[in-house]
Symmetry: C2
Subunit: 460 residues, 2 copies
């Protein structure tokens, strides 16, 4: 059965591309109020498409740009119910003069030996979300139904901070709750190797302000006797890591588990050495915990990073001032079961212990979220891995992601759903930049991949 659906997807390709072009032509830039009507137009276009496929789809108003929600029953009543997530809004196009072809006039052209689809949103995320819709179309046109129950949620504010998403999930939790979420907004490992992101690091952000004297001081008059808050701050920050690159906060590694050796071995085979990974940014020596690969360091290990620091005189020339205050912004990336609240508390205690009795410190929290980790032995993960491996030249790899994708945390927290992150972008797709493109192969094999994954999930 799957083979006939795949064949149908192949036969549909030209028409699928026409539909993608239609969607890309809609200038749904969410962050610019001038494009408000275009955002609604994209939502309406999607609703019309989904209704024509037999979904019960509707435009759902929010205080910002509308959501699209669609439901379709599955052929097998015992199969899992999946929620598919994507976003129809796109980034602004400036600087427009750097585009080789107009951002909202998609074309297909040859680039470095591959056929690519050009235009804003082709990779992020219109091309990706349509891979799923077109997979559903191939099913419907071949067997008249979908293999499992499917709910679709398309957002129109992903590129502008998703202000309406949480309230919408909360208000519509019962309607949106499924067994798993499928999220299609990520990339492949390389053009031959599909990837599933099983881990997303969490984040704790903190701003600290250390105050010493009640005014800025002349370093000639007071230097040597008055506390310098920059000195205190540098001691505090320098002490965050030991000489093995480990974070020194009490209990910091509670909930951090070693990555299974077979996963580490699989990462080794990807061949991304420190030289390659760091060479692209002009570096060569991994800076974090000693004895771990760059992939492990960025995907599976927690960090403490100072993201900003300032205090005293920072202009041209020189001023012999001892500042009254010194400032820093610090973030912790979390993995496994690390508890954001406990880490914030440990950080506060660590800093407070180093503040002299006549100085003071203030803390300003900037968000906190735990890591997301699909168990490496999860059935969902392995079902999808095997389905993807059947489609692509090389087997799928289970990877981590160093950053956060808020929607995944929201699905986990608000709807109790794990997310499967599968996407077909490539690292050179130039998302958010001029000349965004999506590989024709990504679109075509992406559609075929969803056909295989839906089948595998339904029959697992």
């Amino acid at each position: 059965m799957t083979q006939s659906v795949l064949t149908r997807a192949d036969e549909n390709l030209n028409a699928s591309l026409e539909r993608l072009f239609d969607l890309v032509r809609i200038q749904s830039i969410s962050t610019d109020p001038a494009y408000k009507a275009e955002c609604r137009k994209a939502a309406e276009w999607l609703v019309a498409e989904l209704n024509s496929l037999g979904f019960a789809a509707s435009v759902r108003d929010t205080p910002g740009h509308p959501m699209v929600v669609a439901h379709h029953e599955g052929a097998m009543p015992d199969a899992p119910h999946v929620l598919f997530y994507g976003h129809y809004d796109v980034q602004p196009v400036d600087p427009i003069e750097l585009w080789d072809t107009a951002p909202f006039e998609p074309t297909i052209k040859e680039l470095n030996g591959s056929k690519v689809i050009t235009g804003r949103g082709t990779a992020d995320d219109k091309g990706q979300l349509l891979t799923f819709v077109e997979a559903c179309r191939a099913y419907k046109e071949t067997v008249g139904s979908l293999p499992c129950r499917v709910t679709i949620l398309f957002e129109g504010e992903e590129e502008s901070g998703s202000p309406s998403l949480k309230p919408f999930l909360e208000a519509n939790a019962a309607e949106l709750k499924a067994d798993y979420a499928l999220v299609c907004d990520t990339s492949m490992w390389d053009r031959d190797t599909p990837a599933i992101s099983a881990g997303l690091r969490g984040l704790v952000g903190e701003e600290i302000v250390i105050t010493a004297a009640d005014r800025d001081l002349h370093s000639g008059y007071f230097g040597g006797a008055a506390a310098n808050p920059i000195h205190i701050l540098t001691k505090v920050l320098a002490g965050l890591h030991d000489d093995q690159g480990r974070v020194t906060l009490d209990g910091f590694y509670e909930g951090v588990e070693e990555t299974p050796s077979q996963i580490k071995a699989a990462w080794e085979t990807l061949g991304l050495t420190a030289d390659k990974f760091l060479g692209e940014i002009g570096l060569s020596i991994p800076s974090g915990e000693k004895g771990r690969s760059v992939l492990e360091l960025t995907w599976a290990r927690p960090t403490a990073e100072v993201n900003g620091i300032w205090g005293g005189y920072t202009g041209e020339g020189f001023k012999t001032v001892i500042a009254a205050k010194a400032f820093a912004k610090i973030s912790f990336r979390l993995v496994g079961q690390q508890n954001p609240d406990k880490i914030r508390e440990a950080f506060h205690a660590y800093v407070r212990a180093q503040i002299p009795a006549d100085c003071s410190v203030e803390f300003h929290p900037h968000g906190g979220s735990p890591a997301i980790q699909l168990p490496y032995d999860s059935a969902l993960l392995n079902t999808a891995k095997s389905a993807l491996s059947d489609e692509w030249p090389k087997p799928a790899v289970i990877i981590g992601m160093g950053g956060s994708i808020p929607i995944v945390g929201d699905f986990q927290k608000m709807l109790g759903m794990e997310s499967l992150l599968v996407g077909f972008g490539l690292s050179d797709d130039r998302i958010h930049s001029p000349n965004e493109k999506y590989e024709l192969q990504s679109f075509h094999k992406g559609i075929r991949s969803w056909v295989r994954i839906l089948d595998a999930i339904a029959t697992a």
Copy 2:
């Protein structure tokens, strides 16, 4: 003989004040080109006064505001030749609305139980330089001559960085060279206790820029593997001091001598405890080298201070960036015979040793000057100390100054002259601020002090 000169100074006081008022009325703000003619007028006024006293005085043009140079022979041919330095230019008066009386309309009024002379420049430095001129007048009017040979140098650019001073000293070295310089631009210890500044700390300024990656990075993608230049910088800066508050640079304390115990004992009697000194700025715990008084720390010990630090995201909110570069401005205050060049080299070597092989550091020097230290057993110092102690309610104290006074270094370096720093300002004179004042007692006893010091120097 001295007594009759002192009596003459007392009798002259009202007329002396009239002359000070005349000089204060001239709006010689050196930093504002609109007052260029007023600066010249002040120089010409001084030249006329000095010529009327029998000096050979002249206005000497520079590329900026003119100098005043005057010469007078001394009665005793074997007595030392002294150069007296002061400056006739003043600070701007903004914010003008905060002045209780007009800045260029001097008055005498009662303030906290003392008579004070109000107006811009009364303390800094017109009132101070006239104490010396009026002392000369008392001599001339009483005995017809001065006790020793006197050269006077008045500058008109002290409040705007003295750009013409070094070239002028260089071009006129033979004319200006004397046995000692007398500099009257400092303060008393308190209203009853005159002070001589015997030590001025030197300064080495450095800006460092640490570069890691060749661009700013996303801390999710690279965090944990890519070097963070802020981390490197904080380690470098935190390591500048050990846990005893001592500076860790190799050879940093070469040339630093312990302050003689009788000087330290004299400082103890001043009663400036850490609580008092630091309490004024909201602190209480001395932060520098352990086991030393705040006066020793600020007058007689070298320091390393971070005067500015910056890197990464420093705006509102949060950005999970790993910066490409991190910056700091650092200064070292020097004492005794510390060599600024060696300290700069030791700092460079210390920093370089901590920069990972794939990162780099740049240094930008910001000036360097050695400390100035009159030997505590210098005859000049002790002669002046004893003369001052005869005049004031309490004995004079030999103090240090934490900052630098460039003119003193220039006299030392370019003319090979030691400087005696004696001044009659008080710490609440509000120099550079609205409502500048000079105590009537400072003016009166200041004149009498110079009478005594000139006599003591001539007869020592």
